[in-house]
Symmetry: D2
Subunit: 490 residues, 4 copies
Amino acid sequence: MSQKKREHKTYVMKFGGSSLAGPKEILQTASIIKKYASDSNLVIVCSAMGDTTDHLLKAVEHAKKGETNLARAVISKVHQGHMSAVSQCISEQKYKDVCRDWLAELFDEIDKVLLGISLLRDLSPRSMDYILSFGERLATFIVSNTLASMGLKTKYLSGGEAGIMTDESFGSAEPVLKITNEKLRSKLLPLIADGVIPVVAGYIAETLESHEFITLGRGGSDYTATLIAAAIDADEIVLWTDVDGMLSADPRIIKNAKILEQVTYLEAMEMSAFGAKSMQPRALEPAARKGIAVRIRNTFNPSIAGTLIMSPNKIANGARSGVKAVGSIPNVGAVTISGASIVGSPGTAAKIFDILKFLGVPILMMSQSVSENNVSLVVKREHLHKVVKAFKKELLLEDPDSSARANFDGRTNFNFLDYEDDVTIVAVLGRGMIGTPGIAGRVFSTVAKFGINIRMIAQGSSEINISFVIKDKDRAKAVAALHEEFVVKD
Amino acid sequence: MSQKKREHKTYVMKFGGSSLAGPKEILQTASIIKKYASDSNLVIVCSAMGDTTDHLLKAVEHAKKGETNLARAVISKVHQGHMSAVSQCISEQKYKDVCRDWLAELFDEIDKVLLGISLLRDLSPRSMDYILSFGERLATFIVSNTLASMGLKTKYLSGGEAGIMTDESFGSAEPVLKITNEKLRSKLLPLIADGVIPVVAGYIAETLESHEFITLGRGGSDYTATLIAAAIDADEIVLWTDVDGMLSADPRIIKNAKILEQVTYLEAMEMSAFGAKSMQPRALEPAARKGIAVRIRNTFNPSIAGTLIMSPNKIANGARSGVKAVGSIPNVGAVTISGASIVGSPGTAAKIFDILKFLGVPILMMSQSVSENNVSLVVKREHLHKVVKAFKKELLLEDPDSSARANFDGRTNFNFLDYEDDVTIVAVLGRGMIGTPGIAGRVFSTVAKFGINIRMIAQGSSEINISFVIKDKDRAKAVAALHEEFVVKD
Amino acid sequence: MSQKKREHKTYVMKFGGSSLAGPKEILQTASIIKKYASDSNLVIVCSAMGDTTDHLLKAVEHAKKGETNLARAVISKVHQGHMSAVSQCISEQKYKDVCRDWLAELFDEIDKVLLGISLLRDLSPRSMDYILSFGERLATFIVSNTLASMGLKTKYLSGGEAGIMTDESFGSAEPVLKITNEKLRSKLLPLIADGVIPVVAGYIAETLESHEFITLGRGGSDYTATLIAAAIDADEIVLWTDVDGMLSADPRIIKNAKILEQVTYLEAMEMSAFGAKSMQPRALEPAARKGIAVRIRNTFNPSIAGTLIMSPNKIANGARSGVKAVGSIPNVGAVTISGASIVGSPGTAAKIFDILKFLGVPILMMSQSVSENNVSLVVKREHLHKVVKAFKKELLLEDPDSSARANFDGRTNFNFLDYEDDVTIVAVLGRGMIGTPGIAGRVFSTVAKFGINIRMIAQGSSEINISFVIKDKDRAKAVAALHEEFVVKD
Amino acid sequence: MSQKKREHKTYVMKFGGSSLAGPKEILQTASIIKKYASDSNLVIVCSAMGDTTDHLLKAVEHAKKGETNLARAVISKVHQGHMSAVSQCISEQKYKDVCRDWLAELFDEIDKVLLGISLLRDLSPRSMDYILSFGERLATFIVSNTLASMGLKTKYLSGGEAGIMTDESFGSAEPVLKITNEKLRSKLLPLIADGVIPVVAGYIAETLESHEFITLGRGGSDYTATLIAAAIDADEIVLWTDVDGMLSADPRIIKNAKILEQVTYLEAMEMSAFGAKSMQPRALEPAARKGIAVRIRNTFNPSIAGTLIMSPNKIANGARSGVKAVGSIPNVGAVTISGASIVGSPGTAAKIFDILKFLGVPILMMSQSVSENNVSLVVKREHLHKVVKAFKKELLLEDPDSSARANFDGRTNFNFLDYEDDVTIVAVLGRGMIGTPGIAGRVFSTVAKFGINIRMIAQGSSEINISFVIKDKDRAKAVAALHEEFVVKD
């Protein structure tokens, strides 16, 4: 069914913004691609150059205030950066010319759009996606021509041209999978079969009905890569970035954080929840479904193998099982609802979660004890107050500051609510912890040595993490202690 | 407002079945009452004698099978027991006669009812409550007359006569509080003011509309006592039983379990969830609302002060804070739901709890980790399979035994479900744990020394327990180790 | 597949209580059966004799009050009636003896059960169904033996023995269709093949799990007949009763009401909603699904063909289409909710119906006008006040009697509620009305001639009736006028 | 409380687009105002001039396609129209100058905004409201200065400046009533007290939080007028338009439609649902709450009294009660759901309306017959197919085209669905119909004379209309016949 050359392995390689930050980086990226191209089938997915997306957003902000000149100044620098890339990366004149025309055309359009925003002092989500689309379209076109001027056969494609068709949710589009898969296959496989490298603009796609530019939201370029890989049955996805791989802890807190060599898809997802430089769960899904390994590598240190995200049943025997990493999410809020109306009322939990659903507030962590007379929830701090307000109103809870909370551990009635707004979630992460007795004990003893108080704990039975809540001020201490205990010592 | 004598303290004393097991025990109970009566106002609440309720249930079982003679044989023994009590406890002839008439009348009625059941081989919940009402009515009448023949002024009252009026939920009636409080006050306070001791049949009440006997369900006699105490503003409730107080662990597992001297209402409720010989949360509520202390004492060891359940702000300075007890609930089941449809879907939790609400299944314990890609729940083992079945059907989850669960930690798709049916909840209990760093660490290190694997953990931020799930086989080991570590050593 | 003799037609015949009222009626019934038996396959379904069910209910009422003797007196008459039937209907001694034994056994059991109820002064729905089962078991056994003594081969079967297995909803059991169909076929077809007439007790069935007697609720004997007919693919169902067929109007109001020769299943269902002597919709369903015709005939006037309920596509060309009957439902209540919160609020209708669902109140009739600023509902009068109360509370409606309803057609705000409790629904019924222009005009002009005010109208686009609401006092006038106009004149 | 001069009546007068179509019309409007100003307090509310709003929308459409020149051409004509108005309506130079500056400024801004849209080829709802705001701002400013140059003291105010503060629902803002009322009073009453005529831009308001222009949606200028009148307790609202009043039928169908002299608020609302040139129900609400009469008059025929919308209890004795008008809504769709799952299932109606709520589809008309085995609904034709699709899916209904619908009036099972997409709703409207016997009969007889088939009927008990559904092709015939019968003849 697949038309690609089977003698060669097929890689989908995505290069992030840092790998395309400037002429030097683009040339490094190109050299990597060239090396692989000799004995592999390749599909290349590109982000925008460096901080281009941020600059576009900044220009939009200026434009919305009517500061046309400031907006133009921002774009001017972006323009120069792209011009330099063209000058320095592309040797052959004809590709240079093509690129310069492309830049001229796109920057004219950017100018028009920003002017439009300046005049309206307003823009719709549709226009926001449109302006964001320029970053990837510019960078990808340059990369494609850079490779061409190095002698490779390439074909530039926007996300939509490659085949990614979506719904109309501007800002976080969802692909229409069946059509997208068919289109990706019918577009890319013939190119590959002809020895052409498709160079695809990541992050952006096309609306199925109105054929407009749209973006895939956070982690969108990774998602472009995994969607393509799953559609064409690629052998591996390589996400080229500027770090050596996924780390055992946040390097801003832990200097000696280690590179993780192999993690499972689930571990990678869990770690991503803790802000590790890694993938969005959604972006991993197409790879996980097909069992396609995802490698995270450093464009600027290509000799290092990086981190391989893969099926657990393919992980080498020697691969460690147990705690692999320590993560944390600061600036969260914890809410606890207690009371008699919760005892013996099977519908109360349902009501609590209906309220959260209505508010659109995701639950970061949740715990309920045996006696069923209270439920604790952790949410992002920015959501805390609206949750507290809604619970008080909808569940008729006592004000937690009521002066009359006396007899009943300070409660005047049994239905009451408490919250803390200065807390952090800390988690130890790793598959197989559940089969290793003593980990929970070591976790909490380690934390206790530093006099850190545990506010809340959650560990689910099939989870690969133990999460707990501490005060914000104890965060660095707790993460360091756990990293020392589990990652460094082990 | 209150008409009781203010110079005296007012006690509501409830004597359980073991305190009324036979003539000897009733005399012991009477001597305790007599002692208190000299300088206190009293309301006495009585359970049925010894195993009377069980015998009534057994007779009903026989009757439902048409085994009239077996039913009558069971009742005959109960009759003899009550006759002995009358003979041996009541000295004065006129009270003896009154009691014998009462017994004759009530046992005649029991015989008729059992014959009716034998003929129908069936009975309604209403008739079940009717037959159960005899136990308390018989014992309470004997106690009342025993006290009278000792020279005390008493007045026998059924629960309904005392004033407890309920809805029509046969088997677990709910009092109509406003009416009940008014009636209790207007009935009992004048008696107390006249120096009469009301002797009230516990557990049974009267339906507000149809004026029939009805029972208050589990822990009903305690509830009778606290309802009365709250209505008449009693100074203390004393629950006389056959143990020295609430214990630091289940004495069947832990030989050297200690008596807890003071616990808060909330601690008592939590401990009751772990099956400690203690009160139903519902029965504590009227006392807690009014801040009336509840003492648990041993009828047969009255020199011991027992356990005092009270407001935290009245607990003496020296009272220990931290882990006070270790409990466990064996034979539970754990379910974990994972998957992509849970990631990023704020409505999934709401759906899960709607299903549990629909099934009427209470949640014993619940935990959800940071990444929001799974939720773990613990339910009674008897509910496990219907929960698993409903989740699979309603949430379109993969069969956990699917042979195709390969790539994704054994999952073919991201929506799947696992469960364990051989697990136990263990909890360390005690107010103030949350302010004591290191307790979680000690808990899990202690358990780890025995190689016990932790399947799931939950600690909410205002909770007074840390709960975790282990395999059933590890239960005794875990409870013993924790009791040794926290109760014995501390 | 079917094992019945194909040369003969197969009838399922059900004889109602009036057809079995006494010896004379049973002999008449038997003579009808004998006539058919000569050239047809038959299954006979019997109700209880005459008013037996009412007498059983009356005896239960006495027993619940402890009036054992009155209960026994009622039953004694029932016993005598059945004894007379045995004496006079059964000629052959051996069948007489079998029947007398049967009566002795069953009346002994009835006596025991009534005594049981007298003693308990209470009974469960399960026991109620048990006692009701005697009526059909007695009558059916007598009919079976009457036929036997006339030389026919018969076999008495209770509903459960015939194969009707149900859930546990005592009082209105629902058959478990798949199992019931299989059992009915495997039990009845071999008997029929052997030339035996199964004589089945209608109305009663057996619980699938606990194997107890249970009743099918209102119209249960008809349902027994149609379930059997559908299972064994009978050619026709005959419901023998004491009227000549379905009538064009209630004969208590309209003296010259006509017999309807042919009606469709849907027409029969609609007419049954208007209390015509006819079938429950549920009872018609098995026949309608299989397209088996149902004939209603008069046991005491067997020369008349009666009414044939059948598929519309089998109705003879000459069969009239248009208004066939006029029905009415007196003693209903109408509620109208109006207001601005309804205008433009697509959720209000949903909320109204959620409330009715919660209350368990069926809607008899409903109407909403174009502007969407009010909804009118008709419910049974007994439900009216709880509906009004719930709507006022849940929808925050104005009291309809508010003195301040001035400006806005008497409304102080736009959300208000009105109701009428002295109204009747009248309907003209008949398939094909919708294709006959002018019927609505004739209906309302006819009513108008009598100065009758129309409060509310509803006609759905595929309906076979036009319904409208008038004051109770106008009922007889309206029905008579419409019957004259549409049935007599046409 | 009110500071206005009590000796004078206070009118809020709104002049619609046709009353401001050009210089001549504005002068006519001004002469009307001048006449009233001599002995009344006035607040004037203006719409945009003639077709200005349509032209702005057309320009936006061009701009969205990038057709800047076409957009500018459209605006250029609008500009000229406004310039002419200034030239011809304003005599005094200083007011002319002020207006020309105003036009210059606003048309510059319009040009900028359209250019912005052209560049973006897109605009947000916020920007749409911004551009629509120009129409009212331009016209109102010109009217204010026209009046000033005629010697009246006036003050131009945008809707927000007058005090109308709203939520952020761009396109159909909802006023925050409490704040709006306070602001309107504190802004307008002092002006009135000073003898100044506030001239307020209708339709546009200001967002409470972000202080941006926003529009009140359909009927917005009327709503501006009634909000103001209710806030300042005006004596009457006059809506000046280009028709002589509300008519007894659509004059495109009925040549001799009559002017209705007096109608109640409710009648006006009902008629507006049928597209009569009248008010939105929402716009009437503030007037109805306060009982302020609303008069509809013709600017170009001011000698005619027009239609007075008022409280029913103020309507003169001679005012007709009964059918006042005949309306119709063509191009609707009717859906009928039938079946056994509806019979006896109190939850089915709730489910049907939950689906409609989810789809956001308003119900135009609804009917359910007595037997509760079907429900008929009428919705806008554009909603029909999604309703049909959702019902089939969610209620598991049979395909209406199933070839197997045989026995059961063409149904293979009892749950099925039919629809018609070529139908029209016709209604006769008028308060008091319900107290007039014979109207329904006359309605349907009248229609029947023309051989028109009635598909569905609904009349609620407190309604002031009888609605029915016919085929589209019969619409004109039915409306004409009913108008002749009820309006012309009566």
